[in-house]
Amino acid sequence: MSPAYFLRRLLAVALVLWIVTIAVFAITMVLPGNAAIMILGEYATPDQVAAMEIRLGLNRPAAIQYLEWLFNLLQGDFGMSLRLSLPVSDVVGSAFRNSALLAATALVAVTVVAVPVGMLTAVKRGTKADLGISLVAYVGTAMPEFVTATLLLVIFAAPGNPLLPAGGFIPPGESVAGFFNHVILPAGALGLILTAHIARQVRSEMSDVLASDYIRAARLKGLRERRVIWGHALPNSLAPAVAVISLDIGYLLGGIIVVEEIFAWPGLGRLLILALENRDLPVIQAITLLLAMVYALSNLLSDLVIAALDPRVRYE
């Protein structure tokens, strides 16, 4: 791959993010209600509301506010959180780290399970094992995270003899075992739907590969089935699998919102809900921008990986 291609892709990501900043800013501008009341809640005294209104100073033209915000943003200054009275970069930064831990764990687990399962079911297409796994996968994709999470809690964290903690977070720096103990349920709730989806997609990609002329040619060369699958089919299915996984990262980033809320995971998702409920505009803006950036960059990364896996796209 040429540096020019990489640069062009990076430019495209920057353009996308710029568009996101406009969209995000526009959205936060039209949020209804008196921001001060929304931030302080109904038990705030009128004094508090008045003080907050002065502090917000949201009475300047939107375009000026946008430019000012963008200017600060480019210097790494996301402003102050209105609800938490801390710099947004601090609040969002630590939440981002925690979310990344959860998302990465889930993604790794999903990949490790889903890709082999998808390939296996494609190879064993039509057998009982395929049917069984496909059925589970179908049901899996139809369960929203909050249902999965709730059922997981009922099954694994029921009081009396809980197998796993019902929620909470322990930084891996504090205790690795504790981290894994706490991450299993949220990662499971987050991963079920993705595992099912990715396994299905990989199965379908792999089935297409297995039905292709070059697999037929390989078989008719007398190659053993093992060599056909591992030597010929697998390398061709990896690139599409990476593409599917990278697209599902978008879904994963949405899924963390609910899962973090249920499992008390101190990440971006929960922070976002708090920010939305409290009209914490700088935090909403930062999170949305951050998630969009992660998604755009993960797509870019997946393109690079695909280029590494498939010689046809290498010199594009």
């Binding site: 995000v24 369960m143 969009a292």
Partner: protein, 272 residues
């Protein structure tokens, strides 16, 4: 249609969808009890001869609530998808037909919006609109629009280079005729397939919004809300959350399976 039912996935999907459709249309009439009526004597009771699926914290009959909740739950998904598809198709077709800088601007904007995860986008919009089932439906529709616009655009673009469209251009047909008569009828297939599968996503997102308190509101019997309301009793009587939770899965599964079968039926390459 035969093609659909012959597929095992299509068959199961059709059966599940029929069940859901029956619940949507006839649910309110089939419900044995008033779904809002309290039966304080039998709060949080397990399944019994009177209350087949048990009762909730107010002693309301879960079966009746489930049956009347099918409407709001499923129609939410269908409505949100329909709106999203309509808006997306209009935008996508416009971009494809206009081409040039109009297309570029529309597509780059869509790229930007698509970079925001669906649920996050929906949450932002529902917060702007202010929560409630109608607002949530609109939000999901808006969140679906960019994706559908993309699909519609690529569908139109692939149709636009078909030879029958070229033939129409060569004949000097009007632009309107080409779009309405030649392009759209043929571009609609992939859009319908995508829409069907998206209904299941819309149902799930709708339920999730209900669960987060931003979608359907009490005393609605929308299934996501039923799960949310019953969650605090989940250890005491697990079926109160399990029943609506599984109902959501069944409805979503039905649309998912049906959509996949539809895709296979449209795509000869995948036909077995």
């Amino acid at each position: 249609m035969n093609e659909l039912v012959r597929h095992p996935t299509g068959l199961v999907g059709s059966v599940l969808l029929s069940l859901v459709a029956i619940a949507v249309i006839l649910g309110p009439f089939l419900a044995p009890f008033d779904p809002q009526a309290f039966h304080p004597a039998v709060r949080l009771a397990g399944p019994s001869g009177t209350h087949w699926l048990g009762t909730d914290q107010f002693g309301r009959d879960i079966l009746s609530r489930l049956l009347t909740g099918a409407g709001p739950t499923v129609l939410f998904g269908v409505g949100a998808t329909a709106l999203g598809v309509l808006a997306g198709s209009i935008i996508g077709v416009t971009a494809a037909v206009a081409g040039g800088w109009v297309d570029s601007v529309i597509m780059r904007t869509l790229d930007g919006l698509l970079a925001v995860p669906d649920l996050l986008f929906t949450l932002l919009i529902v917060t702007i609109l202010g929560g409630g089932i109608g607002e949530a439906m609109l939000a999901v529709a808006v969140a679906f629009t960019p994706g559908m616009a993309r699909i519609a655009r690529s569908s139109v673009l692939s149709i636009r280079t078909r030879e029958y469209v070229l033939a129409a251009i060569a004949r000097d047909e009007s632009r309107a005729y080409i779009i309405v008569q030649e392009v759209i009828p043929n571009a609609i297939g992939p859009i319908v397939v995508e829409a069907t599968i998206r209904v299941s996503f819309a149902i799930m997102i709708g339920a999730t919004l209900g669960f987060l308190g931003l979608g359907a509101q009490p005393p609605s019997t929308e299934w996501g809300l039923m799960v949310a309301e019953a969650r605090q009793y989940m250890y005491r009587s697990p079926w109160v959350v399990a029943v609506p939770g599984l109902a959501i899965a069944v409805a979503a599964l039905g649309f998912n399976l049906f959509g996949d079968a539809l895709r296979d039926a449209f795509d000869p390459r995948r036909r077995r």
